[in-house]
Symmetry: C2
């Protein structure tokens, strides 16, 4: 028998990515008005960090065509840190113009996935991050730069991805000027043991600049993978309302960790998230209505909160 | 940052409860022939412990009316430990007659749930276990007696269940003659922190006689709760093929941890279960066909095994 001297962070930030990772992967285009309503309700529910869109060409992802407007609205909401995904320098320039609080440049540690998804090798993405850093510094803007290492646990195209390669690329992103780095299990290949192994090494490399874990629930392990990272002290996770999300170049990769399920789990554990689970469930119902017919995920919305879930835990 | 000095058991036993906890909670009655086919395929897939039925009055649970025949067939399969649920001494006598390897007497730590489900107070169940122990000893049979403490994390009728009461009843079951005890989150109210707290205390009380964790996936936390118990060294878990299951007196309690998802998770973590995940997925498909129209759960069957899941891990 081991001893249960496990320590969890006392506070965890749940970063909403449903508006980007979720909406980009479904056919339904949610209107700018509904996106703004989503932002408003999310802030009311206590969300403080939201990825509001992606500066990719509208021809590729028409769902994200209104990112400039949505970002502008997000910037008007007090207390909200609005982030955007940028695939390259051109996207980063738009993020800087819109004064995003943070821009995330995704890198695929899988070379095959990187070429299919971004049409660049991972090292070309590192070089692009260097250019983005130079542009940010020249602009005088405060937008933070996050380098997100995806397919960190394997990839549906290439299969195995070397841990050493993931860590080399993370170090390279830091060296090229990333303010922060994060790890993503883009296709749902991670398990708690591999999360423990890789995240511990990543924390040794990046220290406080390691900012976030992003887990897809493809094989039902998103929350248990969060748990493994929590035990290492990781205190920020990407999640998606109603668990929407996926990856166009990763068949079967549908489903992020669900915002409402993770916020329930953490609250039940006594970990402060600042989130109102009831309000998140209400927003989930609203969003599910806007994307009717699209697959949604998560368990809490079906079962409801336990009778024992104290109202004191709800905010 | 904490250190990832987490230790997992090197070997874990997954005890199949789908034939009992699963089938008793759905309307479809699976034929004796199909139950025997299920047992055969499960043993071929590497399962060594299966709860094959329940000795309750057939009027109450017609799905379990053939438990005597199913148990007899299970006893003919080499290497299989066949267990049955017994609600009382009468059921235990049938289990002894059939030479079950183990009989599980469920106790609800929630008084309200106990009265609704078993029509007895928890302490009356403890007394019944004493009578069952006497009958077992008098019979000369080797059938082990497990006292299973359910609603250990709360209950949909009563709400909160005191940890101290759960532990008192577990001790009482041991004192009354249980060979083993286990804990069940009957209604899906547990979270990893409450699992750590309660299981650590239970292990201190019962030591090696603490044998199993049983988690329902009502709110999506079954696997993360298993993970919390694994970290304490618990090495046996109840699961249900296709995640079927529930509790007639616990609305919304549908769904055990899914056998195939947990076996995948453990194999991916490098923990030996002796199970062939591909064979379990094939059996899942077969069982889902027999109970067509009934709700099934789990994620792996939909997404398939990762490309990186080595064939060496598959057996």
């Amino acid at each position: 028998m081991n001893s249960s001297t496990f320590t969890y962070p006392s506070r965890v930030t749940i970063r909403e990515v449903g508006m980007r990772d979720g909406l980009q992967s479904i056919a339904t285009i949610v209107s700018t008005e509904h996106k703004c309503e989503w932002l408003r309700d999310a802030v009311t529910a206590g969300q403080t960090e939201i990825e509001v869109g992606s500066f990719v060409p509208p021809k590729l992802l028409p769902q994200m065509a209104d990112t400039t407007q949505v970002l502008a609205y997000a910037k008007s909401l007090p207390g909200l840190q609005a982030s955007v995904l940028v695939p390259n320098l051109r996207g980063a320039e738009l993020a800087l113009d819109g004064e995003a609080d943070l821009m995330l440049l995704p890198l695929s540690a899988s070379h095959a996935h990187s070429l299919a998804n971004l049409r660049k090798t991972p090292d070309e993405v590192v070089a692009e991050l260097g250019r983005i850093r130079a542009a940010r510094d020249a602009s005088g803007k405060k937008t933070l730069i996050e380098g997100g290492v995806g397919t960190a646990f394997g990839c549906t195209i290439q299969g195995h991805v070397e841990e050493a390669e993931v860590l080399r690329l993370m170090q390279a992103l830091l060296d090229a000027g990333a303010d922060r780095v994060s790890l993503a299990d883009t296709v749902g290949y991670a398990d708690p043991a591999s999360v423990s192994r890789l995240f511990e090494k990543a924390l040794k490399i990046a220290g406080d600049r390691f900012c976030c874990g992003h887990f897809h629930d493809t094989r039902g392990l998103a929350l248990v993978n969060v748990h493994a990272a929590l035990l290492l002290g990781v205190s920020r996770f990407d999640t998606s309302l109603a668990g929407i999300g996926g990856c166009p170049h990763a068949p079967g990769a549908s489903g992020n960790a669900s915002t409402e399920d993770l916020s329930f789990m953490l609250a039940a554990m006594g970990i402060d998230t600042g989130l109102d689970v009831d309000a998140l469930l209400a927003l989930r119902a609203k969003v599910a209505g806007w994307i009717e017919g699209e697959p949604t995920h998560g368990a809490l919305w079906r079962a409801g909160l336990p009778k024992t879930f104290a109202s004191s835990l709800r905010v």
